[in-house]
């Protein structure tokens, strides 16, 4: 976990390699078997040209970065807002970078406002977004 919560602090990056096997495992775990994720021959005939990872799989990697930085504060009272810009594909290596944009006080409670970007090995942005984590209450 982060030892210092301050504006500008970068979060530990997460790097993940996407494979069809991981996508298939996520389909099994989530119950989302849309053919664009799991049917390689079907996906090849679509404008996307091949299978893509579930957006929620990419988001799980973002959550891993946030959990690593903020632990249970993230898991119990986190907020996020993301846009999926481009699909992640088998063979891609995703890197998720994040930082604390500011720490705010509202009603005696501190919140860390963070931003992050997930990009692939070509530098294409896959996911962008913001998160908010409730840090502590001065009354606690």
């Amino acid at each position: 976990m982060l030892t210092e919560i301050q504006e500008g602090k970068t979060l530990n990056s997460v790097v993940k390699h996407i494979t069809q096997e991981k996508i298939n495992l996520y389909a099994e775990a989530s119950g989302d078997f849309n053919p664009i994720h799991v049917d390689e021959s079907f996906a090849a005939t679509t404008p996307l040209g091949g299978t893509i990872a579930h957006g929620m799989l990419n988001l799980a990697y973002v959550s891993e970065m946030m959990t690593s930085a903020f632990g249970r504060s993230w898991l119990s009272e986190g907020k996020l807002r993301v846009k999926f810009k481009e699909p992640a594909r088998p063979g891609d290596t995703l890197t998720i970078n994040g930082k604390i944009d500011c720490v705010e006080q509202k009603d005696d409670v501190s919140y860390a406002n963070c931003s992050f970007e997930c990009f692939n090995q070509k530098g294409e942005t896959i996911v962008t977004g913001e998160t908010i984590v409730k840090l502590s209450s001065d009354k606690e």
Binding site: K22, L25, S30, D32, K79, R81, V82, F84
Partner: protein, 131 residues
């Protein structure tokens, strides 16, 4: 009992998908953690809960064969940690249905409650369906 499905054409803003109940047992959580390559920390990962909510919705939505479903954006707010073994209830409502040229978009509001009807998480998902 078979899941009652609704077709995309029948969906209208305000429509509420049938609520779905999940027992978040150790096997389900372990499968999720294995899929996302995470060790876990004794609680149900919040995004595993979101995945259940989305699966409940897609499982009751009937789409024409070959329809691609693309997740365009997601908002989420977590309210509490959920222990492994807990039971949750997922509610999904159509907030907006938009058609722009060959692109259809669904904006869905999600809410997940625990057994005591306390809110576990809420959010909004935008799903694109290119035709």
């Amino acid at each position: 009992m078979p899941v009652k499905t609704i077709s995309y054409e029948e969906l209208i803003p305000g429509y509420e998908f049938p609520p779905a109940t999940y027992e978040l047992n150790a096997s389900l959580v372990s499968k999720y953690l294995n899929a996302v390559g995470s060790a876990g920390d004794g609680f149900v990962p919040p995004l595993a809960i979101t995945a259940c909510a989305i699966a409940a919705m897609t499982g009751s939505l009937s789409l024409p064969s070959g329809t691609i479903v693309i997740h365009a954006s997601q908002e989420l707010e977590f309210f509490k940690l959920v222990p492994i073994g807990a039971t949750i209830e997922c509610h999904t409502r159509v907030a907006q249905k938009i058609t722009r040229g060959k692109m259809s978009m669904l904006i869905l509001e999600l809410e997940v409650l625990d057994k005591g009807k306390e809110k576990v998480q809420s959010g909004k998902a935008t799903i694109a369906l290119p035709t």
